[in-house]
Amino acid sequence: MPTHGSYYVPERSVWPILGAVGLFGLGYGSINLLHSHIVGPLVFISGAVLIALTMFGWFHAVIKESRAGLYDAQMDRSFRWGMFWFIFSEIMFFGVFFGALFYARELSVPWLGGAGSGELTHLLIWPDFKAAWPLLANPDPQAFVAPQKTLYTWGIPAMNTLILLSSGVTITLAHWALKRNERNKLIIFLGLTIVLGLVFLSCQAYEYYLAHYKYGLNIATGIYGSTFFMLTGFHAAHVIIGAIMLFIIWLRCVKGHFTPEHHFGFEASAWYWHFVDAIWLLLFTFVYWL
């Protein structure tokens, strides 16, 4: 078998179409949930179950093919490009919300406060409004009740930064262990990474609790709350996804999958974890700190 003719083209597969139906269920279910329609929860849950089933079945097939040795180095590169560009699309997605944050901080809030060309806007619409960040008084206080307080940077957020950064170290240690075929170390460090991720999520949950119940800060308290919760919320969602990915990889490690040479599943999850880590650094800098 010549090396270049060995690119594996899979058989017909039932999983993509199931995944498409599942996505339809998630989307259509969400719409009906929002409209309080009776079919909402049912369609949504069916969609979610289908998606879970699809992922299980699809990944199962890929893992089986991989372990059967059907994938050559070229296939490995396809997967790498795929994951790389997927993460790039995620970066662009976070970019939009960072863009909204910068726009609010640098342009719309100052304009509403009368800066630059916003002078007339300020005088004619909300003359009492004073531009500030964090925004503790909204332009129209009746429409959007402002938060009393925002989170203290050097408390939980700083600790979370440390936690997530250490998880970046532990996953690298796990990767080194995998490359040296030290399976016990691999399982311990990978497990530790997941635990750190979960600790991070718990701290984040506690912080949300504080924000909601102690500081009056929620998503509907004006642009500060909107950007804060959308950014940290999407980040937390990505940490959850990353942790699930790592957990699956951990299970596979325990089962004895992966070799020091072939472990793209591990690397893809590690890339994703580093990506989530990097986004957090930006979040910490621009949402919590500056």
Partner: protein
């Protein structure tokens, strides 16, 4: 090899086997066909809406539809033509042609390819269903500006939002596949600077898709949050700004319009050399020009917002940046003309459409330059001049290139030649009627007729009548195309066409047997 051999062999017969084949397929040609069929169906749907719009505008006053329904028609026409016709058609062509052109066995990630496609019919089901639900369908234009889509958006806006999310997932996954295929599955010797320009154009288009579809997803997500969860991204009362929506939308929107034209550039750059029997003039510069246009597309978005109230310094920057695009685009147009210069030209249908593309797209490009001038845009903004402009780049631009591509490659796909006489009829009727339809719109706009209205002042009647008559001719003409393609696809005759269907064609796709076998290159060819 055994895996490949296995499923090229016997096919089970019967209805369920047929359904299963299309639902579960991992073959780039079958998926390409699915994309093209979807695009054709959506062209009929979006085209019918255009016919209804032109019928209403035939004379002043309200005849056929109420203003709210008219707004729904313009909105849905735009969304369907952009996301349901032009984009899927180009993805379909990419699926069919890229593996054949670079010497690959298939797309890099065939199952993902199937997923990318099958998300789309569901997305358009969700979107189209709004027409049949209680309450109006989305009625704020395809640009979905806040607060029309947030505070004042009908309930159906949520359908639009989730439908856009699905389209985004589909486009991103499709684009990832295209990039992985081009970067990783080229035959030995197929260096980057030897890639056919169609492949180059798609590599860059795919990059644009991955960069901006998430931005659109973010925009509609913020819309959703503003509508249901009390955020104030687009609401100044909470410190946000409706203008922010326009910024985000057009940061997506401007690269998006190049997503709809770069593959067209690629197609034209394949067809002109074939029928001129000369290699493309200035290959390298054609590639650099595409890359340059793609880069500029990220820094020109606010030229859509000159009258929205942005600082003067920003308007000037965006004006000059926009005018810069004329440079690489000019390079392309001159190179196409130089390709034809002193060539042995023949005028088969694909070539006719390609030449019409060069001329008519250039008109659309020039009106774009006019619109880029800030003080002039104060006058033209939101008039029929804009409608004329973007229909020139999208209909005799993108759509003509798709027609050209289908005529050009259909013999390779089916093994049968389309009816050349019918093709010529299709071309001439289309080329004449497209100008009758859209050229008067420039005059209407210059004299001040606003876009997106169902009724107009009496002095606009003549040009509107002419435009409507042109539109009906154009619409009916497309049935000729449909008939020609369907007849070629399902005919039982065999034409015994040579591998190289067109005598002047070069490229790996013409080294394959005609019709192209189910799997392209099991063993990659050596490119010398």
């Amino acid at each position: 090899m055994s895996e490949i051999a296995e499923h090229t062999g016997t096919r089970k017969k019967g209805f369920f086997a047929w359904i299963a084949r299309w639902l579960f397929t991992t073959n780039h040609k079958e998926i390409g066909t699915l994309y093209l069929v979807l695009s054709g169906i959506m062209l009929l749907v979006g085209g019918s809406m255009a016919m209804l719009i032109r019928a209403e505008l035939f004379i002043p006053g309200l005849q056929l539809v109420q203003p709210d329904f008219f707004n729904q028609m313009t909105t849905m026409h735009g969304l369907i033509m952009v996301f349901g016709v032009v984009m899927p058609a180009f993805v379909g062509l990419a699926n069919w042609m890229i593996p054949m052109m670079i010497g690959a066995p298939d797309m890099a990630l065939p199952r993902l390819n199937n997923w990318s496609f099958w998300i789309l019919p569901f997305a358009f089901t969700i979107l189209s269903s709004t027409l049949f639900l209680e309450g109006p369908a989305p009625n704020f234009g395809w640009t979905m500006y806040a607060p029309l889509s947030t505070t004042f958006g009908p309930a159906s806006t949520d359908y639009l939002i989730f439908s856009v999310h699905l389209m985004g997932i589909s486009s991103i996954m499709g684009a990832i596949n295209v990039i992985a295929t081009i970067l990783n599955l080229r035959a030995p010797g197929m260096k980057m600077m030897r890639l056919p320009i169609f492949v180059w154009s798609w590599l860059i288009t795919a990059f644009l898709l991955i960069a901006v579809m998430p931005v659109l997803a973010g925009a509609v997500t913020m819309m959703l949050m503003d509508r249901h969860f009390g955020t104030s991204f687009f609401n100044a009362a909470g410190g946000g700004d409706p203008l922010l929506f326009q910024h985000i939308f057009w940061f997506f929107g401007h690269p998006e319009v190049y997503i709809m034209i770069l593959p067209a550039f690629g197609i034209i750059s394949e067809i002109l050399p074939t029928f001129s029997r000369k290699p493309i003039f200035g290959y390298k510069f054609m590639v650099y020009a595409i890359a340059c246009i793609a880069f500029l597309s990220f820094i020109v978005w606010a030229h859509h917002m000159f009258v929205s109230g942005i600082p003067m310094a920003a308007e000037l920057f965006f004006m000059y940046a926009t005018m810069l695009i004329a440079v690489p685009t000019g390079v392309k147009v001159f190179n196409w003309v130089s390709t034809m210069f002193k060539g042995s030209l023949t005028f088969e249908t694909p070539m006719l459409f390609a030449i019409a593309f060069v001329i008519l797209f250039t008109i659309g490009g020039f009106t774009g330059l006019m619109l880029a001038i800030v003080p002039a845009d104060y006058q033209y903004h939101d008039t029929y001049f804009v409608v004329g402009h973007f229909h020139y780049v999208l209909v005799p631009g993108a759509l003509f290139s798709i027609f050209a591509a289908i005529y050009y490659w259909l013999p390779k796909w089916t093994g049968r030649m389309y009816n050349e006489r019918l093709g010529k009829w299709h071309f001439w009727l289309s080329a004449i009627s497209v100008n009758i339809t859209f050229f008067p719109m420039h005059f209407l706009g210059l004299t001040g007729m606003p876009r997106r209205i169902p009724d107009y002042a009496l002095q606009f009647t003549d040009f509107n009548m002419i435009a409507s008559i042109g539109a009906f001719i154009f619409g009916l003409t497309q049935l000729l195309f449909l008939y020609n393609v369907v007849r070629t696809m399902f005919s039982r005759r065999t034409d015994n066409l040579p591998d190289n269907v067109w005598e002047g064609a070069h490229g790996l796709e013409w080294t394959l047997p005609t019709p192209a076998p189910a799997h392209t290159f099991a063993l990659p060819p050596e490119v010398k």
